[in-house]
């Protein structure tokens, strides 16, 4: 056993990688979700098809398979990614597909008269989206986005299997070096739970912020 602070440092370094993956993955997922979600309700049919194929493909296979495909197969096509980039790419594309459905659902649930009213006051398509539809759709998306962010955090554990030294990977390293199993795994379980709780709290605060001033509307 002995050098506990050393092992704890190792796990905390892993925690940093996990946080990094979660933040970058969420950022990418958010962008992808809006692009694919808006693509799915675009007036131009081929765009809708591309978005649908993307969404069905990434929702239909598991993050694990996608990650291995990105990491092991893409190099044969001449695209070599570092484990971190492969992880962010796979996580972002996977969660982005789930997020796209959320974006689509929220936008479609804005009442139709809102569209008609913005046409009546002669707003452009962009103005309509930016000032009328999205401000109303965003609060509907947030709770599900919060759940998705936690799912993404949990999915980051999988990247340890492509040799990225995240928290789970470091716990395995500690296990291999000390032979102790209980302490490293219990530690990272608690750390993951703390992170998930932090995300949930953050999303609640964000929800309060975004729904402020909407009381009279709904």
């Amino acid at each position: 056993m002995g050098d506990w602070s050393g092992y704890l440092t190792l796990i905390l370094q892993g925690a940093l990688v996990t946080v990094q993956l979660t933040v970058l993955g969420c950022a990418m997922a958010l962008v992808v979700a809006f692009v694919a979600g808006l693509g799915r309700i675009a007036p131009f049919a081929p765009l809708r098809w591309v978005a649908s194929v993307y969404i069905e493909f990434f929702r239909g296979t598991s993050i694990f398979v996608q990650l291995f495909w990105v990491y092991f197969v893409l190099p044969f096509a001449g695209v070599t990614l570092s484990p971190l980039m492969a992880g962010v790419l796979a996580l972002g594309l996977n969660m982005g597909a789930y997020g796209a459905e959320v974006v689509r659902g929220a936008i479609l649930s804005v009442p139709k008269d809102q569209y008609e009213a913005s046409i009546a006051v002669n707003l452009t398509r962009f103005q309509r989206m930016r000032h009328v539809i999205l401000p109303q759709a965003l609060p509907l998306m947030l709770p599900t986005f919060g759940n998705n962010a936690i799912e993404l955090l949990k999915a980051t554990a999988v990247v340890s299997l492509i040799s990225l030294s995240d928290m789970t990977f470091q716990a395995q390293v500690v296990r291999a070096q000390t032979g102790s199993t209980m302490i490293p795994f219990a530690t990272i379980l608690l750390l993951y739970f703390a992170m998930a709780t932090a995300i949930a709290a953050g999303m609640r605060a964000l929800e309060n912020r975004v729904t402020r001033g909407l009381d009279g509307v709904r």
Partner: protein, 219 residues
Amino acid sequence: MEWDWAFVAVITPTLLAGLKLTLLITLLSAIVAAVLGLAFAIARRSSNRFISRPVGAMVQFVRGTPLLVQLYFIFYVLPDAGILLPPLLAGVIGMGLHYATYTAEVYRAGIETVPKGQWEAARAANLTMRQTWVHVIIPQAVPPMIPALANYLIAMFKETPLLSAITVLELMNQAKSVANSSYRYVEPMTMVGVLFLMISLVSVVMLRWLEHRFGRLEK
């Protein structure tokens, strides 16, 4: 990168053997999740706070931590406590427990969608608690749950590759071992993706039918 059909033909039987195990794991874990989820849901509804609080906290905890780490925990930590599980069993218990925390929510939502008046009417008609559950609540609560439960069944199917990390020889692990011994990654990995996608797409169509048949559970 070139695609070799002859190699695909060679590895397909191995992959299909893995697929069979994947489906078996999905089925067994689904049974565990369905039963355990119901137990969690009932325990959380309990009026005894010493039952509902700890179970609620445990469910929160399991939902907030990664399945992979839970699998490691079951597979590596429990043997220290003298509980030595074969990989398959450890995987089924881990997956079943993880998804039970999700199905518990489905059960809860399903039970809560039964209007309060139904409970009151059952009481007014002097039904016993058992009669109320069997003849009034469950027949109304279960149909809307079916699509949501089927949704988690598909999710579980997609999570089975995680079990390769604790040495279960399911589809993903078979593909990895084939890839490692032949130094060809493109075909095995792509085949795994295609197999998963095919089964998922078929199940999604079936899910749509279930939703159409039984309606959707609104949270």
